[in-house]
């Protein structure tokens, strides 16, 4: 019987080793396929992210340029408002002091100057 076993090529220590190696190969193949698929997805996500970064950078640059270009206009606008508010504060002070013309302006246009005590920044409303 021993002689028969040694002569049978399918009954040997190599058979289980071969089976384990086969199983491992199948396992690794599956893993490689999975990793390959994940790599493709990551690459696609990377490409999309690159596009998004490019668009965002373009938008950032455009906005920065627009903000810079509008800065003088904003300053001019702020100066105008400040100038006008200061003028109306003076007119309001004149009205409170009994100046009839100033009163006509303040009452006629419904101008309200916030009290300095109520707020540090006086507001002019029409």
């Amino acid at each position: 019987m021993d002689t028969q076993d040694t002569q049978n090529p399918f009954i040997s220590i190599h058979v289980p080793v071969a089976l384990v190696a086969l199983a491992l190969s199948i396992l690794f193949l599956g893993q490689i396929k999975g990793v390959g698929s994940a790599t493709e997805t990551t690459k696609w996500q990377g490409a999309t992210a690159d596009k998004q970064i490019a668009v965002l950078k373009e938008n950032r640059d455009k906005l920065a340029k627009a903000i810079e270009e509008r800065a003088p206009l904003v300053k001019q606008s702020e100066d105008t408002q400040k100038k006008f508010t200061e003028l109306l504060k003076d007119v309001d002070a004149l009205a409170r002091g009994g100046d009839e013309d100033a009163k006509k302006i303040i009452v006629g246009y419904g101008i309200k100057i916030a009290e300095p005590a109520a707020s540090s920044n006086s507001k002019t409303e029409k």
């Binding site: 090529p9 399918f10 040997s12 190599h14 058979v15 080793v17 071969a18 190696a21 086969l22 491992l24 190969s25 690794f28 193949l29 893993q31 490689i32 990793v35 994940a38 790599t39 990551t42 690459k43 996500q45 990377g46 992210a49 998004q52 970064i53 965002l56 938008n59 950032r60 906005l63 920065a64 627009a66 903000i67 509008r70 800065a71 206009l73 904003v74 001019q76 606008s77 702020e78 100066d79 105008t80 408002q81 100038k83 006008f84 200061e86 003028l87 109306l88 003076d90 007119v91 004149l94 100046d99 013309d101 100033a102 006509k104 302006i105 009452v107 006629g108 246009y109 101008i111 029409k126």
Partner: protein, 151 residues
Amino acid sequence: MNIAPFLLSSVLALLAVILSFVSFSGSQSNNGLQSELLKKQSEIQDLSQAVTLQNQEYQRQGEIINAGAQVAQKVGPQILRDMGYFVAQNKNEKLKAAMLKQKLEDFIPNDEQLKQMNKQLDEMRKQGGQPANGSSTAPAPVAPAAPTLRP
């Protein structure tokens, strides 16, 4: 001696080893790509934040510009025209000083312009018309160029 099982198992084992290396290197490569992607996502987040802040600044600028335009084009000239009229008509020195302080003397009409304004006012009164608002007594000047309210 039959070497077929030995060869088969050896080949399969070698294949398994090769595949394990391939799998390992693939995983490493994927990990590298993942970390690169994370960096890109972080950059996107930073850029988005910057763009959002810039957008808010842009909108704030727009509001300031609109408010300034409102003052300079609609509210301001009317009030200044009336003030200028009062200064010229009633010789109101205090009001004149307030206007001069802000360098708005362009809105004070000269004698000729005042005459024209009074003439217009008389015509309006004859026709039974009222000025645009309660206090406004000064009609829009005809001859004088309308000065712009600019800093």
